[in-house]
């Protein structure tokens, strides 16, 4: 597998693991110094915003706390297309830009008898990722999920 393919493979696997809510396996794709954020630009206040952020340990801690929280269990599915993969001159770090659309299939968020099973677009945006590539393995060192969607209604406890 080429280094670019290794980057794409990590991006797609990260989607798959998050879809399956295998949070530890997702974070296994990330290096120790990984930083995660969900951001958006607000035309209302004309400023960049950070909706959620955390390092690897903080993200894992948040996910481990989920059973203690009430949450919308409607599953999210991430449809991702990797647009660009670019390497630094040393070949060991890479950046990637991907399109992301997240669908939510209703389960228990509203009236499950009526709504369960319906899929809706939950949000759209882009992934801006940075990787450290070692021995053909691309580990995330940064992911910024930059959202276009800002009307997020009930929101979610799940990372995107």
């Amino acid at each position: 597998m080429s280094s670019a393919d290794a980057v794409r493979d990590s991006i797609y696997r990260s989607c798959m693991y998050k879809d399956e809510m295998k949070w530890e396996k997702w974070l296994d794709l990330c290096d120790e110094d990984f930083q995660y954020s969900i951001t958006a630009y607000s035309p209302e206040i004309r400023n960049d915003m950070i909706y959620l952020s955390g390092n690897r340990e903080e993200m894992l801690g948040m996910m481990k706390m989920l059973p203690k929280h009430n949450t919308d269990h409607s599953p999210l599915k991430r449809h991702c297309s990797v647009y660009v993969v670019e390497f630094e001159a040393d070949g060991s770090t890479a950046t990637a830009v991907s399109s992301i659309v997240v669908y939510q299939t209703q389960l228990d968020g509203i009236n499950s008898h009526v709504d369960a099973g319906e899929s809706k677009v939950f949000l759209v945006g882009r992934y801006f990722d940075k990787f450290r590539v070692t021995d053909g393995v691309a580990k995330f060192i940064e992911r910024e999920v930059k959202l276009d969607t800002r009307k997020l209604d009930k929101g979610s406890h799940y990372p995107i």
């Binding site: 035309p43 952020s53 903080e58 209604d153 009930k154 929101g155 406890h157």
Partner: protein
């Protein structure tokens, strides 16, 4: 022995006075919703944004009150003014963007003017009509620019820079008078130095706006939030007072939150708002649908815009100090959004709960009687805040919240009648 109930038992009044429960119809009835728009939302002062959202001359911000489109502008004199966002010519919406600057020209008009894209009529930041295209050819001397100004609305900047607007020209009180003392507890913290909005997002939720306001007014629902139970629920928490003010507003008193008790959370004492004791948390709920919520280092403001009897738009803002350096601001953002952001711990839980209420209270449902009858010496789990709100709501609507087909009766008078 406890048992389930049949229709008659279920719809019979609870063992409370009439001001300690409400009929669920007030959350779902179309006629009541339309009446609220006319009697309440077109009459009250409503905060619509923060002045930091239009910081420079020629900046604008658009919003909606009671289905009326509204535009705020800042003129060269620095003053923020409010107008209906409606062209007096053919009723088109003048500005379509949520915010921006009129310093830039538009395809139909000149810089420094509000231009209606439809027929290129132009207005200045004070709402004066300054240009009518082909005026003399079409109107000769029958219509003058002086007659075609925008509809100006009463507007004040008050309480840490929030911009308040009312559609009611006849309102006989300032925002300060309208707040009736409810804002005083946080005025020193918010007025010490300029604030700035760092967070904005909105939610459209299938529930009545009052259900969201109720959730902000009562803390008994902290059982919903693991975060609040583990960082609160001590003697100081249960001693927090709910205090009512005139015009239906309430305060929820403060205590020191034990943020360290929640895994991954930390004290906020180093960046408390001015004059606020470390890690303290005050809440102000203003009639008819506004919430100010100061948790130590960050201020949240919810503004509710009812869309239908079972639909509300809630705008969530987060604010810090304008003087923040980058590190401090980042901490405030993290503190705010870890709990109150769209991916935060608590907001999602609150929104799930009111969505469930909206789903379970449709317009033609068998009547639910929503209980507001907890008495705990007006402390945090007392429901006096909601009782206070609905007493005011009843006055404005001239409807009895517990039986909205009947005219409002002051609780004291009802108690006397019942005793007599």
């Amino acid at each position: 022995m406890a048992k389930s109930r049949n229709h008659e038992q279920w719809t019979s009044p609870p063992p409370f006075p009439q001001d300690e429960y409400v009929d669920s119809r007030i959350y779902s009835d179309q006629e009541i919703f339309e009446e609220e728009q006319e009697k309440i939302f077109k009459k009250a002062w409503i905060p619509v944004c923060h002045e930091s959202e239009l910081p420079e001359p020629y900046d604008f911000r658009t919003t909606t009150i009671a289905k009326e489109p509204v535009i705020l502008t800042r003129a060269k004199d620095g003053k923020v003014r409010a107008f209906l966002n409606v062209c007096p010519h053919r009723g088109n919406m003048l500005e379509r963007a949520p915010s921006g600057s009129f310093l830039d020209g538009s395809p139909s008009g000149n810089p420094r003017h509000i231009t209606c894209m439809f027929h290129a009529w132009q207005f200045d930041m004070k709402g004066r009509c300054v240009y009518i295209s082909r005026q003399e050819e079409g109107y000769q001397d029958r219509l003058k620019k002086q007659q075609m100004g925008l509809r100006e609305l009463k507007c004040e900047v008050y309480f840490g820079g929030f911009v308040w607007v009312t559609l009611n020209d006849q309102i006989d009180m300032t925002v300060e008078e309208w707040s009736a003392g409810s804002l005083e507890v946080l005025k020193p913290s918010l007025d010490e130095e300029p604030l700035e909005v760092f967070h904005y997002h909105k939610a459209i939720i299938p529930c009545n706006y009052k259900l969201w306001h109720d959730t902000n007014c009562e803390f008994y629902h902290d059982f919903l939030h693991y975060h609040n139970r583990i960082t609160g629920f001590n003697d100081a928490y249960f001693a927090r007072k709910n205090t009512g003010f005139d015009n239906g507003h309430i305060n929820v008193g403060s205590f020191e939150v034990q943020y360290d008790n929640y895994e991954g959370s930390h004290s906020r004492e180093e960046i408390s708002f001015p004059h606020l004791p470390p890690n303290h948390w005050y809440m102000i709920d203003m009639f008819p649908g506004v919430n100010f919520n100061l948790r130590g280092s960050s201020l949240r403001c919810d503004i509710m815009t009812p869309i239908g009897p079972n639909e509300v738009m809630i705008e969530f803002r987060g604010l810090g100090l304008k003087s923040d350096d980058a590190v401090t601001r980042r901490s405030r953002v993290d503190h705010h959004n870890s709990i109150w952001g769209p991916f935060g711990r608590n907001l999602h839980e609150d929104l799930l709960a009111v969505t469930g209420q909206g789903s379970a209270m449709n317009a033609h449902a068998e009547r639910r009687q929503i209980l507001h009858g907890r008495h705990e010496n007006e402390t945090i789990h007392d429901e006096n805040g909601m009782r206070h709100f609905y007493e005011e709501w009843g006055r404005w609507m001239d409807r009895l919240p517990s039986n909205p087909d009947k005219p409002f009766v002051e609780p004291a008078a009802a108690s006397s009648a019942a005793a007599g």
